[in-house]
Every structure is written in structure tokens, then in C-alpha cells.
């Protein structure tokens, strides 16, 4: 009986360790969506401190959200400060569309970002555009959250 209780306690401790370590290693999902636009920071990288590298889109859309415009203004400010930097805008789509249409959609999204950067004084000479369509998802999931992370335009330093 006593042994049984000890075993039970050991089991609980082991279980607790397991749960804790799982929590410690598994990144807690900060991802969230507004409508179906991703607003989290899970996949976001930074061009410089406080300058996120990507903006997200609604399904089938290439319209910039308020948050996207704020991100792009930060990128524009950073690009003005670093005038020797050239960039590639990589446009992407989620997996829920036909391949060829998605190539066009990725191009349209990257150009939406390009146009906005240009209105904030970044010369088009410094910007090239590359669409990957649905060929390079960042999240391999088949669910609305994963898709929202994949509908994006990423600003990548080209030099």
C-alpha cells in the first residue's frame, strides 16, 4: 500500500516534470487573427530593432491593413537611414488557391508593399519584387492560423 502511494507520487512528479518541460520547450502560440489577417509575431523576423520584416493579408486580398501600413512605415524609416540597403519584397499566398493564380496574387501583394514604401520616399531602384505564390509557406499547417501566417509579403535585405 505504502509502495503504491510512493509510486503514485513518483508518477505524479514525473508527470509534472513532463508537463513543465513540454511547456518550457514548446513555444506558446502568440498567434492571433483579426478577421483572417494574422496579427501575431510567431514567424516575424526583424530588419532592425523594432522593424518587423513582414506584413500579412486577408484571404485573396492584397489590401494593406492598418498594422501593415505601420510596419511598412517603420521599414521605410529604417531604409531612409540605411540608404545603401536594397531589398527584395517576397510575396506569398496560402495553399488554398491554384498555383498559377497564387503566383499572380503573391506578386500583387509584394507590389502593394512596394507602392506603400515608395510613397514614404523609398526609390523603386532599391526595391525588387519576387512572388513565390504558395511555394514557400512558413507554416506547414493546414488550418486557418497557419494559412494566415503564409499570406504575407516579406522584406528581405538584398545586399
Amino acid at each position: 500500500m505504502k509502495l503504491n502511494i510512493i509510486l503514485k507520487n513518483v508518477f505524479l512528479v514525473v508527470l509534472a516534470c513532463f508537463v513543465l518541460s513540454a511547456c518550457a520547450t514548446k513555444k506558446v502560440t502568440t498567434g492571433q487573427m483579426q478577421g483572417d489577417v494574422y496579427t501575431g509575431t510567431d514567424t516575424v523576423e526583424y530588419l532592425a530593432s523594432g522593424v518587423p520584416d513582414r506584413v500579412f493579408f486577408a484571404t485573396n486580398e492584397s489590401v494593406l491593413t492598418t498594422a501593415s501600413r505601420e510596419t511598412l512605415r517603420k521599414q521605410a524609416a529604417w531604409l531612409r537611414k540605411n540608404s545603401d540597403v536594397t531589398i527584395v519584397l517576397e510575396g506569398h499566398a496560402d495553399e488554398r488557391g491554384t498555383r498559377e493564380y497564387n503566383l499572380a496574387l503573391g506578386e500583387r501583394r509584394a507590389n502593394a508593399a512596394k507602392d506603400y514604401l515608395m510613397t514614404y520616399g523609398i526609390s523603386s531602384d532599391r526595391i525588387s519584387v519576387l512572388s513565390y505564390g504558395k511555394e514557400r509557406p512558413v507554416d506547414s499547417g493546414s488550418n486557418p492560423l497557419a494559412w494566415s501566417k503564409n499570406r504575407r509579403s516579406v522584406t528581405v535585405k538584398a545586399n
Binding site: T98, R108, S140
Partner: protein, 450 residues
């Protein structure tokens, strides 16, 4: 780039009895065939000397058996025929080829019988075969082929085509190849290569090394050239590849992305999309004089163009209505008409080789469908529903569609795969087409022996 040779098969008719239509067997392929025609494919007979010669050259124990297996497999895969188990055959192959005992074949319920003979003559492979109507007790067809031994698989495919044509009244599609994109690696970093194989999955070859992303290969009408999209040097452009010589060149070298290429039915032009400043338009390029023509002019996305077989019309998809829909226009870009009006979004229209139907991909309520509609958009028929599938390509006789399907990943993002599938125009006979790696973007060649 590996050099691939096309071997042309010389074949001639040795005996051809006048074909009279008194109650001979016929297979109706216009409806879903739930009762495939039972038929017997007797192994092709072969003499010992020929057998030894082929064993040495081809490393196959009995080439007669191997060829008949190809025929059997093709006919079974078509869904129209039910090749019977060889264990039940009562008559030896050599005797059956001379004069079948129709009672014996009738006994095992075979309605048609294929017999034949293989010989090694002057370093060549000679194959003759006969098709018999068991119930009527008549020979329906007899043909002989002579070719280089390495062509033995193609002989099997040509026999299959002849049998299919004789029994259905329509051309077959077995002596054909599929070009597709081979896929490997995790979903976020897929490695893609151009690959080509026989229609039955044999003779798979990779045409690119996987160093750059490649997409959407399509054959020209003679199936010797391929146009596709390559991200060589990170510049997505339309390329042209000569399968025979391995020569490739960029054809869509515009100041922006060119994509979604296809040949015109005469093979002289490539039609494609060109994306610039957020707008995709459809262009053609004449391959001889390199003259470029702009076909569409609209601020929306216009892509996935496909010519009608007579070259007079072009179907494409556009989101000018707000969502992706299918349109048809004259080949000069005039008279644009939307034809898809069902619920959902529509893409990847492909005109059938017969000209009467357009195959498409449809997305509706989170499901993807492969379907067909008439060229005026009427008579929509959905053939198959799945989590994700797209990009239908027609068999040269317009009876079968090949497309690709992707699986839904699990909660951890695992379990992704992409496979080629085929389905009959009837909506029956859905099959996975086996490929050594994952595969997508299939394009079906024309009949190689015609």
C-alpha cells in the same frame, strides 16, 4: 540535362481481314463502366532461341510474358476491361495464336482474347498480335511490329492502343508520357524537379537537378518540347526545353515574372502570363520571330490561359469580377465572356482535345473539385472532391484527366504529400498514378506513335 531519345517504331499491317460489323463486341466508353469487359490476354508465345537472345539483351526472362503484362495492366487501368487470371487459361499461348479453341475461352467467360508471338529477327524485336472475338468466334484484328529490342515497353503500349481503339471506336492513350514536377523534402522547403515517365509510371527520368524551383511543365503538340516556369537565378521566367537535345532557353524574358505557359495547338506560339506592378496580363510569343502580343488588358489578375484545339479561342481565369472565374475570348483578345457562374471560385481551365469541354478546378466551401463544363459554361459536372486538388490535364483522346492532389497536414503540420491522380471523364475509375517521389503539375503528352 540527360539526352532522351525517341525511338520511332515502324509497324505494318500483316493481315487485316475486312472488318464487318455483324454483332462484334463493342465497349461503350461514354458512361461509367461498371461492368468492365472480361477479356483474356494470353502471354505472347516465344521460341527458345528468341527467348535466350532477348534475355541477354534486355535482362528479362521471358519478354513475351512481359509485353503481355503491359497490355494487361493498361487495359485494366482503363477501367473498361477486366483481364482474366492467367491461371485459368486452358490453351497454350503458341497454339492459341494459331487458332483459339473458342469454347475454352468461352468457358472462363472471356469475351475477347489477345494472342501473339515474339521473334528475334536481325537483331530486332518482331511482335505480332491478334484480337479475337470469342463469342462470335472471329479474328477482329491482326498486326505486327518490328523495332529495336529496347522499345519493348512501347510495343506493349501500342498493342494496348490498338485493342482499345478496335473495341471502343476511339483512339487509345497508352503510348504516351507524362511530364510532371517531382517533389521531395519538407513542405516549407520543397525541392522540385522536372520529371518525365511513361503513362504507366515506367522509365521515370529527372530532367532538372532540383537546384532551382520549377513549376507547371506542358508539352507541345508533338510532345518533343516542354514549356515550364523556372526560378533560375531567382528570376521566375518561362523556359522552353527540347526533350530530345536537352537544350533549354528562356522565352519569357520580360522585366517581371512570366508564368502559366502553354503552347498554341500548332506549337508555334507560347501563351503565358506576365506580371508587373501588381497586374498579371496574358501575352503570346511567336517562337519563330519572337514577336510578342498582349492579349488581355485589365487591372485584375488574368492567368492560366489555354487555347481551344482549333486555336480560335482562349480560356483563362481572371478575378475581374472580384473572385477567380473562368472566361473565354477570341484568340486576339476580343469578345471576353465569363462562362463560370456556379457557386464558388473557378480556375485552371483546360480545353479538351475534342474541343467540346473545358476541365477546371473549383473551390467551394473549403473543398476542391475537378470538373468539366461545356465551352459556353453550361452543363457543369464535378468529377471528384477533395481537400486540395487542381491542374487537370487531358489524355490525348479526351477521355481521362490527370491532376494532382495534396493532403491536409495534421495538427503538428506533418503528413504532407502531393500525388498524381487520374479519373475518367465519366467520374468513375479514380486512380493514383504512382511516381517514385511525390508529384504535381502533370501534363499528358500526345500519342507518340501517331
Amino acid at each position: 540535362m540527360k539526352r532522351i531519345k525517341f525511338f520511332f517504331i515502324s509497324y505494318f499491317i500483316i493481315i487485316l481481314f475486312p472488318i464487318k460489323s455483324y454483332g462484334l463486341i463493342e465497349v461503350d466508353i461514354t458512361r461509367g463502366n461498371l461492368n468492365p469487359l472480361p477479356l483474356a490476354v494470353s502471354p505472347l508465345s516465344i521460341d527458345e532461341k528468341s527467348k535466350k537472345s532477348f534475355e541477354k539483351i534486355l535482362n528479362k526472362q521471358n519478354i513475351g510474358d512481359e509485353i503481355s503484362l503491359i497490355v494487361e495492366n493498361n487495359l485494366r487501368t482503363s477501367g473498361l476491361f477486366n483481364p482474366l487470371n492467367k491461371d485459368a487459361f486452358l490453351q497454350a499461348p503458341d497454339i492459341a495464336n494459331l487458332k483459339p479453341r473458342f469454347e475454352d475461352w468461352n468457358l472462363i467467360k472471356a469475351q475477347a482474347l489477345i494472342t501473339g508471338k515474339v521473334n528475334f529477327i536481325d537483331e530486332k524485336l518482331r511482335v505480332e498480335f491478334r484480337l479475337w472475338d470469342v463469342l462470335a468466334g472471329k479474328e477482329m484484328m491482326a498486326l505486327a511490329f518490328t523495332t529495336v529490342p529496347n522499345n519493348w515497353r512501347r510495343v506493349g503500349h501500342i498493342i494496348s492502343d490498338k485493342v482499345y481503339e478496335r473495341l471502343t471506336g476511339e483512339k487509345g492513350y497508352f503510348d504516351t508520357r507524362i511530364i510532371y514536377v517531382s517533389e521531395e523534402g519538407p513542405k516549407t522547403k520543397r525541392i522540385k524537379k522536372l520529371a518525365i515517365m511513361d503513362q504507366d509510371g515506367a522509365n521515370n527520368k529527372f530532367l532538372t537537378l532540383g537546384n532551382e524551383l520549377v513549376l507547371t511543365p506542358r508539352f507541345n503538340p508533338t510532345s518533343q518540347m516542354v514549356t515550364y516556369l523556372s526560378y533560375f537565378r531567382n528570376l521566375p521566367r518561362v523556359y522552353l526545353l527540347d526533350i530530345e537535345t536537352g537544350m533549354q532557353e528562356v522565352v519569357g524574358d520580360f522585366p517581371g515574372m512570366t508564368f502559366a505557359p502553354r503552347f498554341s495547338p500548332d506549337g508555334k506560339k507560347i501563351i503565358m502570363s506576365f506580371a508587373k506592378d501588381g497586374n498579371s496580363e496574358i501575352y503570346t510569343m511567336d517562337l519563330e520571330n519572337r514577336i510578342v502580343e498582349k492579349i488581355t488588358n485589365h487591372p485584375s489578375i488574368d492567368t492560366s490561359p489555354s487555347y481551344s484545339p482549333d486555336g480560335k479561342y482562349i480560356s483563362f481565369n481572371s478575378d475581374r469580377s472580384g473572385y477567380q472565374q473562368i472566361y473565354v475570348m477570341n484568340s486576339d483578345g476580343s469578345n471576353v465572356k465569363r462562362i463560370s457562374f456556379g457557386s464558388g471560385i473557378y480556375g485552371t481551365p483546360v480545353w479538351s482535345p475534342r474541343g467540346d469541354l473545358i476541365a477546371f478546378t473549383k473551390l467551394h466551401k473549403g473543398k476542391f473539385y475537378i470538373g468539366v463544363m461545356r465551352t459556353d459554361g453550361k452543363g457543369e459536372r464535378l468529377l471528384t472532391e477533395n481537400f486540395y486538388q487542381e491542374a487537370p490535364s487531358w489524355s490525348p483522346n479526351g477521355r481521362v484527366l490527370i491532376f494532382y492532389r495534396e493532403t491536409k497536414t495534421d495538427a503538428a503540420g506533418k503528413g504532407f504529400s502531393a500525388k498524381l491522380w487520374s479519373i475518367d471523364l465519366t467520374g468513375y475509375n479514380e486512380r493514383m498514378v504512382r511516381t517514385p517521389t511525390d508529384g504535381s503539375d502533370p501534363s499528358w503528352s500526345s500519342l507518340l506513335s501517331n
